[in-house]
């Protein structure tokens, strides 16, 4: 699916009326971006509480979905878990605060917190502007034997959102 998306992208570029040199550059950049983007999409798993996790080699990165940040509104304060905290799946692992409300974050999987996004202390709104990348919340060593079957992939999460958004 990712490969065909890239192909489609490049095809459009090469048939458009742009000077040759910029065509090449544009197509290269687009391919690069499209590739890393679709890689993220492929790896990201979601909870029904709208957190996401990307697990690479037993290391997990956790954040909230774009839908969640839209619902929460402008985040003004982010509480992240303390380093070394051992979390069970669905433990409260942090809190996001807007002017209007405080919303707890639940850990998608169990594990030990190894890093928190220190940028969020001074720029909490990164969670709004870049929920899937720069606005990540914390990283953890995923507990051995973790089962991610309960989590949704991008496609399943999209379908799930359809059921709750009318």
């Amino acid at each position: 699916m990712a490969a065909s998306a890239i192909r489609k992208f490049s095809l459009t570029l090469f048939t458009s009326k742009v000077p040759f040199s910029s065509k090449v550059i544009a197509s290269f950049q687009c391919q690069k971006r499209a590739f890393s983007f679709s890689k993220c999409l492929a790896d990201r798993l979601y909870t029904d509480k709208h957190e996401w996790i990307v697990i690479v080699n037993g290391k997990g990165t956790v954040g909230i979905s774009n839908y969640a940040q839209e619902q929460l509104g402008e985040i003004v304060y982010v509480e992240t878990p303390a380093l070394g905290t051992t979390l069970n799946p669905q433990d409260v692992s942090g809190c996001l605060e807007s002017v209007k409300a405080a919303s707890e974050v639940y850990s998608p999987v169990g594990g030990t917190v190894t890093e928190v996004n220190s940028k969020l202390a001074s720029e909490p709104a990164l969670v709004n502007s870049s929920p899937l990348l720069e606005g990540w919340l914390y990283k953890l060593d995923v507990a051995p034997g973790t089962n991610t079957k309960e989590l949704m992939n991008e496609e399943a999460y999209k379908a799930f959102l359809e059921t709750i958004v009318h």
Binding site: T47, E74, K100, S103
Partner: protein, 406 residues
């Protein structure tokens, strides 16, 4: 079904008001949420709609709560507050009638003068807060909270029946018009061109019957819930969209629609109470730091509901008092427990709080034991098992900007 991030998302302070109220104001079937006559306008403007006090109301528009909030402080914002209960009190015994329910010296109001007041119960508790204006057209114009509309109406109706039974002349009518709050320092610039009178002749807490952008039968009252200079305009429903459109397209200043979210943070910065959070039937005006509402004449007569308890508290200080708090770090919100500085003594509870968009610190208010109510007192507030340092701080947090000619 939905829990976690989204399930938790709800305007905390408003939650208790979500119950549907029974009323036939505007169009709605029994049990359904009601819509104001400006509902479609809000949706077209990108409003996020939430249930509030039995109504479907905009909580914010596209720009979001912080931008809306700051826009009201800097320029001018318009709030649809048509969900509030507007009541007209006619009859020659109307002032006596209103005085039997509130702590205000209604007889003492000059023509077209209004005041904030409270309905009190026999224990001195607050049934609702409201604004009573003594119109020069010979009736009282009363505006009270949407969330209390049912009980306010029942309360007033019961007293009306009692008065009428005793041969007194009083008649209540619900006013079914739209109500727009136009708030902010640029209010005068955008509203004056549409008026048939000079806004300089309308000081804070006065009212006038007027034509507004061509709409006859409007009432303009210089009041609001933001701490800024502003008015509330009662407009016949069929003219509301036109008047709102005229204001929105003003060339004099940028006008934005403002939702309930910013309405809450603005009133908090202004130190104003939200009924159901900061005041209710278990708090008296004295405890709520609203002793100034109890008119001198009424104190002398001691003839309002709950007078005995309220007057006793004025004389010998209440056991608890509403105060403001400022803090940094984790935002403090309603229901947080307040402790003495050493963390040993539980001294009270926060009733509402939020990060302040104007001040970039956290502001909150709540009740503490009177010994801790002095400004500058250091306290601890517990949020998610953490003890936050907070200072008792003078209200309002942001200086008010009312139009009070000297």
């Amino acid at each position: 079904m939905m829990v976690g991030i989204i399930g938790k998302y709800r305007p905390f302070c408003f939650h208790h008001l979500y119950k549907t109220i029974k009323s036939n104001r505007f169009s709605s079937k029994a049990g359904e949420l009601k819509r104001t006559c400006l509902y479609d306008f809000h949706v077209a403007e990108g409003a996020k709609i939430v249930p509030f006090a039995g109504w479907e109301m905009p909580v914010q528009y596209k720009s979001g709560i912080i931008k809306e909030h700051l826009h009201v402080r800097k320029e001018v914002g318009i709030f649809d507050v048509s969900h509030m209960l507007q009541t007209r009190v006619d009859g020659k015994d109307r002032k006596k009638f209103m005085e039997s329910l509130v702590v205000l010296d209604v007889e003492d109001l000059k023509p077209n003068q209004g005041s904030l007041t409270v309905f009190t119960n026999e224990k001195g508790g607050i049934i609702d807060d409201l604004i009573v204006s003594n119109t020069s057209e010979g009736y009282l114009y009363v505006v009270s909270n949407a969330g209390c509309a049912d009980k306010d109406m029942a309360h007033m109706k019961a007293k009306e029946a009692e008065f009428q039974k005793n041969g007194l002349d009083v008649k209540l009518t619900t006013i079914e018009t739209a109500l727009l709050a136009v708030q902010g320092p640029s209010m005068k610039k955008v509203l004056q061109p549409g008026l048939d009178f000079d806004l300089n002749s309308l000081p804070f807490m006065t009212t006038i019957s007027a034509k507004v952008f061509g709409a006859e039968g409007c009432r303009v009252t210089r009041c609001g819930y933001t701490g800024e200079d502003g008015v509330e305009i009662s407009i016949p429903s069929n003219c509301a969209v036109d008047v709102l459109s005229s204001l929105m397209s003003s060339p004099k200043a940028p006008v934005q629609l403002i939702g309930l979210g910013a309405r809450d943070s603005l009133r908090l910065e202004a130190g104003l109470c939200l009924y159901g959070n900061d005041i209710d039937e278990t708090t008296t005006p004295v405890e709520a730091n609203l002793t100034w509402l109890v008119s001198k004449g009424r104190r002398a007569k001691a003839d309002f509901p709950g007078a005995e308890i309220i007057l006793q508290q004025i004389k010998s200080k209440p056991t608890k008092r509403r105060v403001g708090f400022t803090s940094t770090g984790i935002p403090v919100r309603g229901h947080a427990k307040i402790y003495s500085q050493d963390g040993k003594e539980l001294i009270g509870e926060v009733t509402s709080g939020c990060p302040s968009p104007s001040l970039n610190i956290n502001v909150s208010m709540g009740y503490v034991k009177t010994a801790y109510a002095k400004n500058g007192t250091k306290v601890k507030i517990e949020v998610r098992q953490k003890m936050i340092d907070a200072d008792v701080t003078k209200l309002p947090f942001v200086p008010s900007n009312y139009f009070i000619p000297s």
